[in-house]
Amino acid sequence: MKVTDACTGCGVCVDVCPFGAIDMVNGKAVINEACRACGQCVDACPVGAIVMSEVEAVDLSDYRGVMIYAEQRGGRVHPVSYELLGKAQELAAQLSEPVYVVIVGSGVGAGAEEFVRRGADKVFLYDDPALADFRDDPYTDLLARCCKEEKPSIFLIGATSLGRSLGPRVSAKLQTGLTADCTYLDIDTETRLLRQTRPAYGGNIMATIVTPNSRPQMATVRYKMFPEAVKVDHPKGSVVEKTVDVSKIRDRVKVLGFEEAKEQVSISEADLIVSGGLGMGDPKGFELIREMAETLGAAVGASRPTVDEGWIDYRHQVGLSGRTVRPQVYIACGISGAVQHQAGMKTSDIIIAVNKDPEAPIFKISSLGVVGDLYEVVPRLIEKIKEHSGRA
């Protein structure tokens, strides 16, 4: 962003800047370090005195194809990878480009085949006993290597804990842009650029971001945002084995052990979720939530403040800083519905909220809002459900 001599010092840009990034110095606008290059001042300036800095165009025509990273642990493919494949197929169809998958691990050949069955054009396979455990160093090296060799125009990684550690490292190595935790992706038909949309400010703002001058255009993509790619009738793709001498790859961090979470919480996959919030007033509230969840065969969710307070393990956390969930029915008990919580559950098919406060924001997005004390309503509901299932 640059201010030219045409600036009249009218101050319109100072008012429109969302980031407080423009100061008036000696009657001229000066852009400071808070600038995020959103361009609002460029549009607002009545005399056209603010211009976007030009960036040198790079020849990008060598890059073709939409590549996704197939995440796996112990040979089990993370379902977000199939969601990425589905999205990649859609984007690739728009661009008339191929769909690539890259998978790294030990004994993951069967996993690679599954991507072919689901319609991938090429699956690049790095399979070596030394790659069994995920480590940022060798995995970064191999993904960067694969991108340099295959030159995809787009590279998508799941925004899981693993992907959000690995993605930044790969993008830094490849000297290309990375957009974190995207919830929406599409192609700009005019420029053919990937439009990457993501929540920021705890879900209060959505930002659409592009990577115009470097390749691949990289994004980490939130789990449970897109449907999985399904098996195709006549798969035409193939697995391409990539051989590398893994012992020559730098590998600085050693895995000493892995302890699976005691309680396997699978709120991401659940069709039914019962969640508790700070409105329960007491950590014991979760006993009631668990009882109701058991009665319904539901998973237990939680709001961020209850996790921060130590009432429940963080793996239960629903929201922007926790998991995104998309169940058939989401029952929120004593959850006020902060924007960051909503960002993680508002795409649920049906939302039922129980809250004492009739003004609670959760009611604005609920299919059914129940104004009442959860300690009075929920026990009765549990009885009723039991009665109902007894009759059925």
Partner: protein, 261 residues
Amino acid sequence: MNIVVPIKQVPETTEVQFDEETGRLIREGVAAIINPFDEYAIEEALRIKEKLGGVVKVITMGPPWAADALRDAISMGADEGWLATDRAFAGADTWATSLTLARCIERMGGYDLVICGLKTTDGDTGQTGPEMAEHMDIPHVCYVSEITEIGDGRVVVKRNMDEGVETLEAPLPLLITVGKDINQPRLATLRGRLKAKKAEIKEITNNDLKMDPKEIGLDGSFTRVVKLFEPEVPEAGEIVEGTPDELAEAILVKLQECKVI
């Protein structure tokens, strides 16, 4: 042990609002604070220093007033505050920010450990830490929930992953990112505040770094924000009031409608 903690000043609330007429963000009257995750990073650094001795340096990149965040960190117990401030740094995305911070840290004297908060509450990306590690050519471990051993050029840490907890051993120097489960940050003492008030903040500009203008700020950024907008909100349905029994019945009916019972 020389520990560097990169921090960021963020708005106190993320509940930014849009002006419905102009479609712009309203930001008046929003105070600035240290990114809450960074306080856990500072606390962890202080605990290591208390155990092993050494120096804790905090650094931020931002406008001159970001020095307030550095003073807050000093009032908690950090030894030095460094401010990377230059108009040339403006408009940086995580790539350019991490590269600039990496070059700054390399100028601040030796380091054994870099501790970052796992993300900021405004940008929410969590990318700057791992990108910085790549630029500095040191390993990184994200989501550290506990440092179980540290010393003799190595650390053993626990890392929270989606499926469970990993135990990892890494050599120093190392960059880690930490979340809220690692400790409980201390509050600043009165003495700390007095010390922070008088502390000298060391400034770094691009005159010091001499980075290529194409590597910093907006020109050094690979990503561009092309649009900001308010998220869509699903429509509200029915709101019911009544006796606990009537309310429980209403939920039961809804669950039956959805065919989940």
